[in-house]
Subunit: 539 residues, 2 copies
Amino acid sequence: MRGLMMDFPLTLTAIFNRAERLFSKVEIVSRRPDGSLVRQTFGEFHRRTRRLAHALRNAGIQRGERVATLMWNHSAQLEAYFGIPLAGAVLHTLNLRLHPNEIAFIAKHADDQLLIVDDVLLPIYEKFKDKVNFKRVIVVPFCGNPLPAGLENYEDFIASASGDIEPPQMEENEAAAMCFTSGTTGNPKGVLYSHRSLVLHSLAEAMVDGCGIGHHSAVLQVTPMFHANGWGLPYTAIMTGAKLVLPGPMVDSESILDLIEQEAITVSCGVPTVWLGVIAALEKYPERWKPRRTVQVISGGSAPPESLIRALDRYGFHLRHLWGMTETTPVATLGGLKSDMRDSSEDEKYRARSKQGWPAPFVELRVMTESGVAPWDGKAYGELEVRGPWVASSYYEAPETRNRWAEDGWFKTGDIATIDADGYLRILDRTKDMIKSGGEWISSVDLENALMGHPAVREAAVIGLPHPKWQERPLAVVVLKPGSEANTGDLTRFLAAKFAKWQLPDEIVFADEIPRTSVGKFLKAKLRDQYADWKWEQK
Amino acid sequence: MRGLMMDFPLTLTAIFNRAERLFSKVEIVSRRPDGSLVRQTFGEFHRRTRRLAHALRNAGIQRGERVATLMWNHSAQLEAYFGIPLAGAVLHTLNLRLHPNEIAFIAKHADDQLLIVDDVLLPIYEKFKDKVNFKRVIVVPFCGNPLPAGLENYEDFIASASGDIEPPQMEENEAAAMCFTSGTTGNPKGVLYSHRSLVLHSLAEAMVDGCGIGHHSAVLQVTPMFHANGWGLPYTAIMTGAKLVLPGPMVDSESILDLIEQEAITVSCGVPTVWLGVIAALEKYPERWKPRRTVQVISGGSAPPESLIRALDRYGFHLRHLWGMTETTPVATLGGLKSDMRDSSEDEKYRARSKQGWPAPFVELRVMTESGVAPWDGKAYGELEVRGPWVASSYYEAPETRNRWAEDGWFKTGDIATIDADGYLRILDRTKDMIKSGGEWISSVDLENALMGHPAVREAAVIGLPHPKWQERPLAVVVLKPGSEANTGDLTRFLAAKFAKWQLPDEIVFADEIPRTSVGKFLKAKLRDQYADWKWEQK
């Protein structure tokens, strides 16, 4: 028997309309490329976004068509987040850190009709413009330079429309946004988010146990909005009427700390490497920043070293580690302690907080081994699989990737993981990063996070390299903190307290930096290339 | 274009399964009718609930059939909340405070197949059993007395099944629960909640800006679970893994305060009259209770007097006033201050907190006047209408009530309201309680709440009575605090500071108590009956 409840679709339009009526005085603060801050209210944001939607309709954009953005985090990107779906179209955020050829492939594969691009990013556009065929290119003007021929000014574009049209009535399962994963193998793959998935994801993030974002929060959006819906926080902030601070291109540690202090930030987000940098800055200038309130730091993308969580606590930053992927909108787990751990030791609490959290409501996790679904015992490991209302059911027009979904529909993440009896997920490695040594597996992530707990180590990455006897053996690449010293023997002894002898890296090399992916994670594929000719010393 | 996200239904089953895996150690505390406390874990709750579902299937209960409960708030009622929907059936909570004839009408109208009833409530059952035809009656045993012939023991019933069956795969729009509104006119009307509506409502309540319930909360469920889904808090507590404390039949002020202190409660709920009683107890025994943490009090059902909110604050209780109805699952608005009011005066903040809040995400409100939708100006008043994903689209098998929905599908609440520029709803009166005096309207609620701000007044209700010249004029019925004194002149002078002369009650009468509805609200229909023969003195 059907319930007798209204058929009310869960759409971004509903979020947008409500915020317009309720939160018109809340601030949105954007840093421009020249470093200046621009303040607007939700009221202005809504008026401009309605105009953008109207102008897109006037430009002939049809329901379901893709509109691309190539932008930093600022108010115009936020206008695109809502204005494009409001027009009935699909927001497609291009990742400006990818190779221009890759951007071109993605834009063509998505069949993007129109591009909105920051003028300061036109040099990137120039590199791929001959490989794509946008009908129109709209440029957000920051620096005041005249635009190249054929390109249009974003301010003129939105000024051309009144915004006074009724948005189309969307079904909740219609597409609203699209992001591509920047996989290291094969072509990039598109994930197509529905209104429903983004709405439910926002509700989960607005939970006390989610990202803790409410109407009285002030959110600093460090995570790029071109990456995995900016982890969903822009939608959640607009839904709850939280103040939103967008740092533009300036996401260096000092700029982040300046904004946190000046704008009384309560929630921020970013990959662990961002917060490693923030800690380095706080240690370098111990008197410079005095945040007024505890800052909740949403971190994901890779596992934060326990030492980072401890260091952040000392400075009034509380890190919540969530796990997710572009394919999961992205937040799939909630971090934090279970209530029965209230009386646990500090060490136990930090250990739990370093894990990858427990499944969010309506997200289901399982670990698949060769003999079936693994028990939740914290030991049995295998490939992590996930399902839920904000998990991708397939990639966009990529039938060759069908094998990424199990026969019963679960998504295969490509991560090797365990789940313990409390429900905590622990990612041991990406399938391809796990080191196979003499028939046993070694977790590169565990070694890295232990190394980053050494006081002299700033960053560490561990890769498996071919070995004539053991198949693979671990090599650690370490970046020391400025002014610090440590040698291979020091670090190996440090690790030996936590790992079995056969798990220790056979060699530790010191480097100036570790290559990064477009979203700030360690780029191990490149490291493996760098050390492709490595010869192990005979031991 | 459809998004490419998984088709994952939003069901209570998903909430139940996740809580089973994640929160097995969390406590559920129930007070039995003899006053003793029983503790169980989510683990035990889940095992028993699976058995209940299994036993219902064995009993032949079919998908979509209604199973009734007649119970106080305790763990078996919670088992019914999840076990009945888990069996694919519909939980129908009977309101034990209604007249037995009315209960019989409701159970027959709903076609309830089976009843689960507390043994201490069998005297009520005896009064209507001849008018209903349940196939089986299952009795929750508390007092140890032998059961009347033909009735079955709940413990035996659930022990007869292993619980080891797979629940049916429900669609999210299938019915999960049913409540009847105890209207003062016409027959009671059934509201049929879908899994989807209960799930979305739970997500809204788990928001920072909702009821603020998270995994670390301890919730005291004062609101009867037989009334409007217990305001949804039982579902939200299980979803978030919050500790849940169920007070059984003992909801007097002292028992409530004992539980709040002993169980370290952080969130509770109840109509304003409950909290008026709590304040009276705190004033009577100022040293007796020392709550350890601030208690968030979710209040609804009627407007709390501002004086109540102030008094609760002094004792460490923070009242959040939410508005809703049985037809809205029930929470339709969020309470609390807007962020731009942070620097407002204390008086302004209390005034805002006394209003009925602003619409929850995906709930839409409008005020209809004779000339169409009213502006949000805090002045234009008319009937409040509402729509959203957890708002009823019709009553259960009651085609004669079709006029309660506007032609475009909005639900007509029967409340007279304004909405101000900040989005705050203010309910002036039920349509039928508004006092029409000489062509102008007088709000009975405003007068009542002002009277309850007088230090000598414990409770006050205002009704309109026929008047030969003015059509209707207000009469106030006042209950004084024990040991306090005030006369008509005192109270009229007190009101005169806030109201125009023509709005003041023509008469104030003093009484020992004010009649209540089954859910603790003032029963004005009965008051009007009592004073039906009232003769105004000529003035």
